[in-house]
Symmetry: C2
Subunit: 392 residues, 2 copies
Amino acid sequence: MRDVAIVGVGMTKFGRLSYELDEMIAKACLAAMDDCGNPGIDSVYVANMGAGAINRQTALASAVIDRLGLLGKTSAVAIENGPASGQNAAKLGFFEVASGYSDCVLVAGGERMRVAPGGTITDFVAMMSHPKAEYIHGVTLPSLAGMFARLYMDKYGITSEDLANVAVKNHANGMLNPYAHIHQKIALEGILLSREAKLNNPVIADPLRLYDMCPVSDGAAAFILCPLEKAKELCDTPVRIAGVGQGTDLHAVHERPDPLVLKSVQIAADRAFAMAGVERKDIDFLELHDAFTILEFAESENAGFFEPGKCATALREGVTQIGGKLPINPSGGLKARGHPVGATGAAQLVECTWQLRGDAGRRQVSGAQRAFTVNFGGFGNNVVAHILERGD
Amino acid sequence: MRDVAIVGVGMTKFGRLSYELDEMIAKACLAAMDDCGNPGIDSVYVANMGAGAINRQTALASAVIDRLGLLGKTSAVAIENGPASGQNAAKLGFFEVASGYSDCVLVAGGERMRVAPGGTITDFVAMMSHPKAEYIHGVTLPSLAGMFARLYMDKYGITSEDLANVAVKNHANGMLNPYAHIHQKIALEGILLSREAKLNNPVIADPLRLYDMCPVSDGAAAFILCPLEKAKELCDTPVRIAGVGQGTDLHAVHERPDPLVLKSVQIAADRAFAMAGVERKDIDFLELHDAFTILEFAESENAGFFEPGKCATALREGVTQIGGKLPINPSGGLKARGHPVGATGAAQLVECTWQLRGDAGRRQVSGAQRAFTVNFGGFGNNVVAHILERGD
């Protein structure tokens, strides 16, 4: 199995975008190609969840390479694993290069969600839940997250203020990220500590409020993989894919023996660490899938970075801030960067690459050598994790 | 790169099925698992085109492994490349095993199309065409095939009778295939040679008639990949994946310099043959993507088995019949086996495996050692081809 590195990255700003879906993805691809001297591309993977359901388009990958003029010997395919599509596509691109079949693979993720008619987005997202045990009964992702948060708060004694601290931190980080959807500084005083503040931050799925939820975003991100041994020809600082792991769990959340135990995250993380041959203490920062604030706690703990229920304390103590011992979501996370579902996993890997190269500007994690990231599919039924490290 | 073999296969009957989409796919998976002694599965690929658009379901692969009880360390992902999804998923599963990351990969394809409301299927299928240059102007796949057929007939002097001969042959083969959607023997007299016959076989997209089109089918097919060196532990006759190729072309058919030149088929075939290190003369039979009768001619010729315009003559001479020198579509092809879009590529590989093992019953191609198959995406914008051979 050959070593594989990320040699070029690019993304669009996330937000409300007016580009066609395939055009948006192509823009991110062009940025990634420009970033490493426009190498010849053997194969393109496009991560996406909603083309068929929202955009009335199939064969999305063919449309993307047509936009790029990459036709003939360049192959193309679309990948779907709910919100974990991005890092799942990365994993498949990794196999293509690791196997020796191809030398240069472009992986992109993109979603154009904001064209969906008002009121239908929550339904669209809910289509990833169990079709018979959840979706047809009206379960939504915010409702699952609300019930999960209530269980978690009861068990570990954390408060709404702890959850809001995640939003405050990630909004602050997002202010430093020019690609982030949300550029809005918030403070506990403005979203939680008074009756007036709470009116600005209504309950969506008790106990979760508006500012506990990621926004609905359009956007795309892309990166280019090649064998590590050739990576130095294409960029100054290759970023090596040191570990790849995936884990799955019961589709219907209520069937899990203890819903607070995210087995899929545990398995994905353990496999990524086993492959990389490193330990949790060797990781310099995390990019996690905080579609809801509670998930930053749950993922960091289930991935083995904190004892269960302890991430909130670490946040209060500054451990997970940029400049702390283990920054989480220096990008702003899904909470502030935004969450175009198919793009998110790709954007996480792009952020890790920028950080490891030292190219993250004002949100740079100083001296970062190794990153861990989780892309959370469904409500934890299918999770992909990566460990990236400087390859120079 | 490790050698990879197919060790187990299974499929549902194709037709109008009442199973849920994920249940249908799970049934094919269970048949494939039973076929090779239920080995442990590391990873599952699910090829599908319409879950989001027709079945209001995303994260389909998670639903499938939940049905199968394959949770925890088994990963799962859905693959979409229009009607070429099935063989594209096979290619990605091949990479996972070839790279050395996994030892046992299950690849499935499935589609539940017949639940789409009447009159909307042609629109659903058209969503794979170019979104701006074709789809919004009302282009459909039958209309593209009709224009292609007219050009081809004008250039090579073939007739409607030549096209109908494809249907007659493939329906006859389908009579011998218990999994085929259509079990109906037809003859030129009944579908073309009189005014009454033509009334039974109306023009759908001139010059193509009803019997030039594949049916709309539900169904699923699946197979299991493992390293060739371990294959003998799981089955008596492993089938080696000798060659894998993919080729792409301009998305909008009218932009191609000569629409009759299927560059994607040429590239996919050439790459598969280069990888396999064999020649066209070494192939014993073909499974082609005859969504329209004309495509059996166009694909066999562009893949290099006949001179352009000559497959019709070969058919009249019996060359492409079961028992001929180069049988095409002994399964009945898409024309008779049916065409649940995401399942077709998987079903083609399942049929090739049965034939190469000598397990194809009354439709057996005698002494078959090596097969070539084409899975045609879009109207030729993204094509995957495989060469399979006996691995014992």
